[in-house]
């Protein structure tokens, strides 16, 4: 993605070039992501050379790894959103096994789940196939798992079923459930509020990805509810 530098730059007579802030952000996000990649690798190498001596050190390492991975995920989403906006994100819908994408995302977070002693169950017919962009939906699912790993007590359940002609992938936890404002309010249109400490970027990304999946039947969507199968919250992704 080579940026063009020869955009018309005549801004009145001032001779000043207006800043394309979205572009500046996107390039710096890209740069940060590369640095973070190095950081994660150095961390892995360090743990390799000097493994944790006790439980406390192991917890430190796992916190470092978890937080870095979370930033990494967030940056990937930011870049994808930017590209969706610029219409430069390639989306390739093809037939995939639901179980593959679920197992893949769980394997990706293996270290995290182990370090937090989380028991994760899968409920999915291994023959269930559906149509989606496996990388984008994989990204959404990865987010959900990382997020739930933070709020659950010790159990997660990922399931996939067919419901009324839609594929439904549900992630349920045994935590306290989603707060009321998330259950009732409309999902954010854009990344919101710097104050709350949660930009809800993940939800925005998920919604955008789901919107990109549409057929004659309709388009993808999601629902959030409490009192799920494990007693906590349950978030469901629906793909046409």
């Amino acid at each position: 993605m080579t940026p063009t530098t020869d955009q018309p730059s005549d801004n009145g007579n001032t001779g000043q070039v207006p800043i394309d802030f979205a572009f500046v952000l996107a390039s710096s996000v890209h740069d940060m992501k590369n640095s973070l990649g190095m950081l994660l690798h150095t961390l892995a190498a360090m743990m390799e050379i000097s493994p944790p001596k006790d439980a406390e050190q192991a917890r430190f390492f796992s916190t470092l790894e978890y937080e870095a991975a979370r930033i990494n995920g967030e940056l990937v989403q930011l870049l994808s959103l930017y590209k969706m906006d610029e219409k430069t994100l390639a989306i390739v819908i093809d037939e995939h096994h639901a179980i593959d994408i679920i197992e893949e995302q769980i394997a990706r977070n293996d270290t995290l789940l182990k370090s937090r002693n989380i028991d994760i169950q899968i409920d999915c017919d291994s023959d269930l196939v559906w149509y989606f962009d496996n990388e984008l939906v994989g990204g959404v699912l990865n987010n959900l798992i990382v997020n739930c790993a933070r709020y659950c007590k010790k159990q997660l359940l990922v399931s996939a079923t067919e419901e009324n002609g839609f594929l439904c992938i549900a992630v349920a936890d045994d935590g306290q459930g989603y707060p009321d404002n998330m259950l009732l309010g409309p999902l954010p249109q854009a990344a919101v509020s710097f104050n709350s400490g949660n930009t809800k970027l993940g939800l925005l990304f998920a919604r955008k990805v789901l919107e990109l999946h549409k057929t004659k039947k309709g388009q993808g969507y999601m629902t959030i509810a409490n009192n799920g199968p494990l007693g906590g919250g349950v978030l469901k992704l629906y793909l046409p």
């Binding site: 993605m1 080579t2 992501k33 590369n34 990649g37 994660l40 690798h41 150095t42 892995a44 190498a45 390799e48 991975a69 990494n72 990937v76 870049l79 994808s80 590209k83 219409k87 430069t88 994100l89 390639a90 989306i91 390739v92 819908i93 093809d94 037939e95 096994h97 593959d100 197992e103 893949e104 394997a107 990706r108 977070n109 293996d110 270290t111 023959d127 196939v129 149509y131 990388e135 057929t215």
Partner: protein, 548 residues
């Protein structure tokens, strides 16, 4: 997981960071893979891959200096070597295949995003190996050229409810097309499309329509795909093929332009764009695309000598019609041609060719001393060879002499060559590029035809079509005064109906070139003067109008 025979496997890890190599090495060993080699650069890895077969190659995309992971993959897949169909997994910090996918022409078997966990690696490998095992017989039959057998096996797998039925369907479509069973291919793609609008099946329909010579049908499917996904590079490639089949050189250039705008890193598309723009006599587009192709060729197996010399030549040609536009390219062209021999082997002819191109480029750069030096060197190297192989270099010599203002010597050499090859139609055709009237029968005929076609379009007041047909002929006969003036005349009429700056620039360029090749004794000199006057008045009137 079932025993996948890891212990028998031989794997290669390519990463420029020692740490990462170590981490991946340990992961593969822990999985039980029997033999693991590591390489720190793409170049080193390719040496390994010439010596032995690897079952699995794990390659980082960003390898620092030298080749990228994608370039390693392209070289393995497109050249003869023991690893041409090894499992290739591209590891990347980018994570998103969309970044990588659009840019290159070969896809790896899988992408893995950093950071990699052992479990994710295990799982991905397991799936790939299992899939490969299941499709092994099909692929073997396909590789051996036994397509009927491959088709039979594919059908069996699909009927047996294989987990990889989707891949089998894709393969089956390709096989039908390979054996030219177009009806079966169409039926397969239509069945898939009845259920879902999948891109691969739509692309299959385009190929089917091309095989049926149904160009309109192919076009409609292509428009459909590109509307849904404007980033589908395979659709651009098929669209280019369609234009080629229809001999639509303008359409071909446009689509390659679009494709390279979206995906500027594909060397093959840049080369193709440079080529077609040069044929279309659009020297600005050609020179810029060729410059990018030369740059991308630095570490690529698709780099070609012809692209480098064409870049130099096009820059020289561009300089002869517009010095300002050529200016930013000259320096790159010089360095590209100075390294020409090192890159493409040392022969006397290559050496002479590069010196002659350098000599002309030094004139463009305003360095007469170096230009003269390179010319003298070239003359020494070339000597008095009358070898037929040397003709292109002899032609370059005449060009260089002209560019350096040594017109008498140029003319002497040209007369020599014309005498020497007087009875050889093929060689005469090549020499026509230097002449103001072609000598070869083929080019005489071409000029007659182009003129007929162009004049008919002109009389029908379709000035763009007229200009286009003259323009393409000018690429083969750049010194043909009559053609050039016909082109100018059509362009002036085009400018009259619509004063466009781009048209205006092209006319100026054509005049610059015309005044360089026309002498006052030329039978068309009077016409040249008149056209120049008409043009000057037109511009004056326009400027007056826009001021008032």
């Amino acid at each position: 997981m079932a025993d996948l025979g890891y212990y028998k496997m031989h794997a290669l890890i390519i990463d420029d960071f020692e740490n990462f190599r170590g981490t991946l090495y340990k992961m593969l060993m822990d999985l039980g893979i029997g033999n693991v080699d590591t390489a720190a650069s793409g170049e080193e890895a390719l040496r390994f891959c010439k010596a032995r077969t690897y079952d699995l190659i794990l390659c980082d995309n960003n390898l620092g200096k030298g080749k990228s992971g994608q370039q390693v993959l392209e070289e393995l897949r497109s050249t003869e070597n023991p690893c041409s169909d090894s499992l290739f997994i591209l590891v990347s910090a980018e994570s998103s295949k969309s970044i990588i996918m659009a840019a290159y022409d070969y896809e790896p078997d899988a992408y893995l995003a950093k950071p990699i966990t052992p479990k994710a690696l295990d799982q991905r490998l397991g799936r790939l190996i299992e899939q490969r095992a299941e499709l092994k017989a099909v692929q073997a039959a396909q590789k051996a050229g036994d397509y009927q057998q491959a088709i039979k096996l594919c059908k069996e797998l699909i009927a047996g409810g294989s987990r990889h039925a989707n891949s089998c369907q894709k393969l089956l479509g390709q096989l039908y097309l390979a054996v030219n069973d177009v009806a079966a291919a169409e039926a397969l793609y239509r069945t898939v499309l009845d259920n879902r609008e999948l891109e691969w099946a739509q692309l299959g329909m385009v190929k089917t329509k091309l095989a049926q010579h149904d160009y309109l049908g192919a076009q409609q499917w292509l428009e459909n795909i590109l509307q849904g996904n404007p980033l589908c590079m395979k659709a651009y490639d098929l669209q280019a093929e369609l234009f080629k089949l229809q001999n639509d050189t303008e359409g071909l250039q446009n689509i390659l332009q679009k494709a390279t705008d979206i995906s500027p890193l594909s060397i093959l598309r840049q080369q193709a764009l440079g080529d077609i723009a040069q044929q279309n006599n659009d020297l600005v587009t050609a020179a810029n695309a060729l410059r990018r192709a030369v740059k991308l060729g630095e570490h690529s197996c698709f780099d070609k000598a012809e692209v480098h010399s064409l870049f130099a030549q096009t820059t020289i040609d561009l300089h002869s019609i517009d010095k300002e536009l050529a200016k930013p390219l000259v320096r790159d062209a010089i360095s590209c041609i100075i390294n020409y021999e090192d890159n493409f082997g040392k022969t006397q002819l290559k050496k002479a060719e590069s010196l002659l191109l350098e000599s002309q480029l030094q004139v463009c750069a305003g360095d007469q001393r170096r230009a003269q030096e390179a010319l003298s060197n070239a003359q020494t190297v070339l000597g008095n060879t009358k070898d037929a192989d040397a003709l292109p270099v002899q032609i370059e010599m005449v060009r260089a002499l002209r560019v350096l203002g040594k017109t008498d010597e140029a003319q002497r050499r040209l007369t020599d060559l014309l005498q020497h090859y007087a009875s050889n139609e093929d060689q005469l055709q090549k020499l026509d590029v230097l002449l103001d009237e072609p000598r070869s029968e083929k080019n005489k005929l071409m000029v007659a035809e182009i003129n007929k076609k162009g004049i008919a379009a002109y009389n029908a007041k379709d000035f763009s079509a007229a200009a286009d047909s003259f323009k393409i002929a000018l690429q083969k006969l750049p010194n043909h005064v009559g053609l050039r003036l016909n082109y100018v005349q059509a362009m002036i009429d085009k400018l009259k109906s619509n004063f466009e700056q781009s048209t205006n620039e092209k006319i100026q360029q054509a005049f610059t070139k015309a005044s360089a090749i026309i002498s006052t004794q030329h039978p068309q000199y009077q016409r040249y003067r008149q056209l120049n006057e008409v043009y000057t008045n037109l511009v004056k009137a326009y400027e007056k109008n826009s001021r008032g």
